[in-house]
Amino acid sequence: MPTLTAKKSKRPPVRASGRAAPALIFGDLWEFDPAPETADPKLKARYELFIDGQFVAPASGNYFDTVNPATEQKIAEMALGGAADVDAAYRAADKAQKTVWGKLPGRERAKYLYRIARLLQDRAREFAIAETMDNGKPIKETRDFDVPMAAAHFFYHAGWADKLEYIAPGRRVAPLGVVGQVIPWNFPLLMMAWKIAPAIAMGNCVVIKPATNTPLNAIKLAEIFQDAGLPPGVVNVITGPGSTGGLIMAHPTAAKIAFTGSTEVGKVILRSVAGSDKKMTMELGGKAANIVFDDAPLDQAVEGIVNGIFFNQGQVCCAGSRLLVQESVAERVVAKLKNRLRALRVGNPLDKNTDVGAIVSRGQLDSIRSYLDIGVKEGAELWQPPCRLPAKGFYMPPTIFTGVSQSHRIAREEIFGPVLAIIPFRTVEEAIEKANNTPYGLSAGVWTDKGSRILKMSTELKAGVVWANTFNQFDPTSPFGGYKESGFGREGGRQGLLDYCKLV
């Protein structure tokens, strides 16, 4: 009969009290029955583009497959939008902005956003399943985070639409016109909400392209726009490859462009629009430091470390991919962390017990794997919990690296996967120095029992979001965005809304 505690030889180091820390054993000892989510995601075999309020075939007549990364099976055919479709979308958006949406009183615009929020809540389960199928993230996350948070963003911004005179004291604000938006594959639906809700609340119209890998919920959300009676052309959704995104960013009709994605692509876009008058928001990469001080509640911190880097398989721009841990507790934290990782369940993302799902694509998986090789080659020590991965699909066990130095590539470059680099520090100053020693500056975490230290660290860290004794928290009221090469502009809150208007 299996026991709950490990054999003596496998136990972590003996504690100061002389008693060994109890270690729970999961893995093969505890078999969970499968608990798959079985509701119907109501998918079609083929999806079209959404232009001027209608679902229309792409001008090229071409389609591409969107694939479930957990099974490598085709989910549906998606329209491959190109230049002609982007033009049509911009024409529709421009017309809608000038003739309908820009003229509508704010209180009426608000009602459409409220409707969208409500309709999305109605179909929450369906969207959660579709999101998990398209992206590979656990149903636990899509059900409890992505979909409700997307609805919350529409609901929050709805209320702003008729209160815009309060966002810029001393000045009046006006919409910019048409906004071109390109979003990433890590939070397909939530990014749609982050981008569209503030833009249309302010009176702009939108041409948006979801990521090539995860177009499903973007186009499903267009069904909700139709059901909500959103006037044609207010939001246009173009699915397609990265090159189509480039067309959307560089289109002359776009008064503003908003991009979320890698710093590398962000720079390409910035160069492509150099010399234009487009307003811009860039939400780019990160290499966040999650800093654990010796007075932190360590069990809570370990949960935060896990959430920081293994949430969404680490495919998060603000992921806590560098763990800075104070030397005096480093060994204990790493031991606790390893214990905790042994209990993470990696596998079928549609299973309600799954903690870590599939990586979004083979390409991304290969990229993450190459970083594992790089880390080992540079002399860091790799550790992964024993886990059995499904035979098909793109999976990566949670991975930690110890013995990492600041100069290692795994400590400097955004891996965008479930890979944690652990770096010790001794003093507060050293922690600050190491945390800020990166071209990125999106987020940071601080774990300590001292409120004054939280505020000190928050002041010193060059990052747009600082989480204290928590990590990866989001809220529509809370502005999100980076310093330095993590981009500029904010999303959420008053600050985010102001980036979608001009002062008049």
Binding site: K267, G275, S458, T470, T477, Y483, Q495
Partner: protein, 288 residues
């Protein structure tokens, strides 16, 4: 026999010191009548890099000053200008402006400094806020200075425009490396002397003189300049945008081809301060 006056050697102001260009190059400045007035330092990319280094040293200390202290120093800068208003007006008139117009520009410049002196301890209350998140956190958004801001002054309004661009940046604790009007650099050279006596720590504002085509590319690409604000023509805007892309630098550029009325109240705003800050949001736990 009349006394031969002692003329002043025009110098750039970098790191709290008055310097010639490291290149030893100068260009002649003539007055409106075409008479030789003085040699202006023709600063180089190296001078710009040195100025950025000076700004980097001074920046953190300036950013940590209290808002009240920054306000008093900006106000004192206004006092320094007011006290030497006649001299500044002469410097502006050197470029051909009528005496009355030059005096008006000086007065407007002093008023602009006083305007921003008053903002130092208020903009945070207007731009930042507490966010009512749906979780047990005290969540607040505050501003922080971006760091070092490059300023490209236009050719016209050689004192007022320059100060209108510098003041909002230092109001929020940034440090500045500015390039003065090439055709009318002398008011900027005098401004350096006033900065030096204003209690503003050396290096917080650095004033360079020289040619835009030599310096704009380095303003564009210098990684430690976190933002560039100012006035630029279409070619310069393109160069700046391309260079800025490499380090995701923030650009806030007015167009040379669209006239800006620097005297207008619209040329001063808390939103000019906003353009030189980053927003930081902190999630502080509530409860034990």
């Amino acid at each position: 026999m009349s006394r031969l006056p002692i003329t002043k050697t025009p110098k750039a102001y970098v790191g709290g010191a008055f310097i010639r260009s490291e290149s030893a190059r100068v260009y002649p400045l003539k007055d409106a009548a075409g008479n030789f007035f003085g040699n202006i330092p023709q600063c180089t990319r190296k001078d710009l890099r040195n100025a950025v280094e000076a700004a980097a040293k001074a920046g953190p200390g300036w950013a940590k000053r209290t808002a009240y202290n920054r306000g008093q120093i900006l106000y004192r800068l206004g006092e320094m200008l007011e006290a030497r208003a006649a001299e500044l007006a002469d410097a502006i008139a050197l470029g051909g402006a009528a005496k009355a117009a030059a005096a008006r520009e000086v007065a407007a410049t002093v008023d602009r400094l006083v305007y921003y002196a008053g903002w130092t301890d208020k903009y945070e209350q207007v731009l930042g806020n507490v966010n009512p998140v749906a979780a047990p956190y005290f969540n607040f958004t505050v501003t922080e200075p971006m760091g070092i801001v490059g300023v490209l002054a236009p050719e016209e309004a050689p004192l007022l425009a320059l100060v209108s661009l510098i003041a909002p940046a230092i109001t929020s604790g940034n440090s500045v490396v500015a390039l003065a009007s090439t055709a009318q650099p002398y008011p900027a050279i005098l401004l350096g002397e006033m900065l030096a006596t204003s209690d503003l720590p050396g290096g917080v504002v650095n004033l360079l003189t020289g040619f835009r085509q030599e310096l704009v590319p380095t303003f564009a690409t210098h990684t430690h300049l976190r933002a560039v604000s100012g006035v630029a023509n279409a070619d310069e805007r393109r160069v700046l945008a391309l260079g800025a892309a490499d380090s995701i630098k923030r650009l806030h550029l007015l167009k040379t081809e669209e006239a800006t009325d620097w005297f207008d109240d619209a040329a001063q705003s808390v939103y000019a301060v906003r353009a030189t800050v980053e927003f930081k949001t902190t999630w502080h736990p509530i409860g034990s």
